[in-house]
């Protein structure tokens, strides 16, 4: 007789194996491990793994030689029915198993458990030898079944999250298109796998382009779904050449009606002509900054964030960009990142960081500033989504720069 200590050690080692076996073929391996590794101690003589296939279950793996004996079980078979009902079940002598093909063929009282993943189902069935102990079997099979079920569902869940991440990545631009006379770069870092920050760049024709930055309240998946609506809505509106204030107020209607009326989105959208004329609209987003020599200017025109109220009134603002101007667009995650003393990064630090490297390319400014902000927060993980975009109105065109070098 095995000592409890040795038994638990074996069970523990089996559980570790379950976590290390990779791939979808984990279930047959677990069946073999259970029978070969713990079979003797638990008085298990053989194991069977059935997989649901329509309205029947097909034997896909067994430790027994005679695979032809019961290759299929009906979903009405008592063993299948009772196992699915209880998730883990040890049959009693008293159970009427005369309608079970499995029991009729093998002539033994089995123990069984099920693994369920959405619409897929598997049944593990074990033959028990005389002398088996109910408590030991119950404990072992329950543990293994719970671990398998949770492992499968967590992997399934991770897969969903990964898909959400891919969807969001496909929506936000990977790189900014080159625009004559401008150097533009930007990055967005979500605090979780997906985030509530958004940015986009729209190119219409050679004369002008659109740029958007925004922040949906909250984090994670709910915020990411709102981001998707906003990016899609904005692109559709702008490509139809609708007025920007009209597009944003339509977006407000959509967000307000979405029953997630507790959520809101701040959004800054600008159209910039290559000659430097800039028209913008700001729905409650932190004002971008213009660095013009030593001075720092805000974009003063703005209105309410999108979502909380049934209607918003937004006005357009205008700026004229000149060569040498640097425009900084950011979300609050950047200026509100906190250091160990509880102080936020703030606009002043942002401006100083940019000023030190203002002659460098936009992409380098973006990377260096994000690094600086990350370090300011003691290199702990980002607690809020962060987005930072730099637009430089060049003295010489980038194409000319490339030709010079």
């Amino acid at each position: 007789m095995i000592t409890p200590k040795d038994f638990y050690r074996k069970l523990d080692s089996l559980i570790k194996d379950i976590y290390t076996i990779e791939g979808i073929d984990i279930l047959p391996s677990v069946l073999s491990e259970l029978v070969n590794f713990l079979g003797k101690d638990l008085s298990i003589s053989g194991g069977f793994l059935y997989e649901m296939d329509g309205d029947r279950y097909e034997l896909i793996h067994t430790t027994e030689q005679d695979v032809a004996k019961v290759p299929y079980l009906s979903d009405q078979d008592d063993v299948v029915r009772l196992t699915l009902e209880h998730s883990c079940y040890i049959f009693n002598e008293a159970d009427d198993l005369s309608h079970s093909a499995f029991c009729c063929q093998w002539g033994q009282v089995p123990a069984a458990f099920s693994v369920i993943l959405e619409d897929k189902r598997w049944i593990f069935i074990f033959l028990l030898k005389p002398g088996w102990q109910r408590e030991e079997i119950e404990l072992s099979l329950n543990i293994v079944s719970k671990i398998l079920n949770s492992r499968y569902s967590s992997r399934h869940f991770q897969n969903y999250i990964h898909q959400a991440e891919l969807i969001q990545r496909s929506l936000l631009p990977n790189e900014f298109p080159k625009i004559e006379g401008f150097d533009i770069a930007g990055k967005s870092i979500p605090a979780e796998v997906v985030g509530g920050d958004l940015f986009d760049m729209l190119t219409f024709d050679e004369d002008y382009f659109g740029i958007a930055i925004g922040d949906a309240s909250g984090h994670g998946l709910p915020a990411a779904l709102v981001v998707r609506d906003v990016v899609t809505g904005l692109r559709m509106g702008m490509e139809k050449h609708m007025k920007m204030t009209h597009t944003l107020s339509k977006l407000n209607d959509v967000i307000h009606r979405s029953r997630l009326s507790t959520s809101f989105v701040s959004l800054f959208y600008a159209e910039i002509e290559t000659n430097g004329n800039m028209i913008y609209v700001n729905a409650g987003h932190p004002s971008p900054l213009r660095l013009k020599g030593d001075t720092v200017e805000e974009f003063p025109v703005g209105g309410l964030v999108l979502g909380p109220m049934p209607h918003v009134e937004l006005k357009r603002g205008f700026k004229e960009l000149v060569a040498g101007d640097i425009i900084l667009l950011f979300t609050d995650g950047l200026i509100e990142r906190i250091n160990s003393k509880g102080e936020p990064y703030e606009v002043e630090r942002l401006v100083n960081s940019v000023k030190k490297i203002k002659d460098r390319p936009a992409s380098e400014i973006v990377d260096k500033v994000l690094q600086d902000v990350y370090q300011f927060g003691n290199r702990i993980k980002w607690l809020d989504d962060v987005t930072f975009i730099v637009i430089k109105k060049l003295v010489k065109s980038i194409f000319q720069n490339e030709a010079d070098s």
Partner: protein, 111 residues
Amino acid sequence: MEMKHDILDTSAVIALQSNILGTPSDSKDFECKIQDLIGEGVTRVILDLSDVKRINSTGLAILITGFNLLTNSGGKFALANLNEFIKGALTITKLNNVFEYYDSIDEAIAH
């Protein structure tokens, strides 16, 4: 998040105690509290923010929830004792045009 409230006739003053307003559990707690108060016949809620140092976007969404719940049931929602940080957040998002806010509870009650 800790919430204490006093009821005076049909007005309620809720004091929020939270360094940062907007942790994930705050939304549900707050929504339940407001709904309970409306159920008890409260038509005006004043939110005392003296013990709230900072607010994030989830926190602002919580305030919007309070505003919407009260407004939709024909009641009123106001904020009191906001520090500069919270005032700043309301100014950027222009929610300062949506919420009534006062420098003290007395002033809020008097209105």
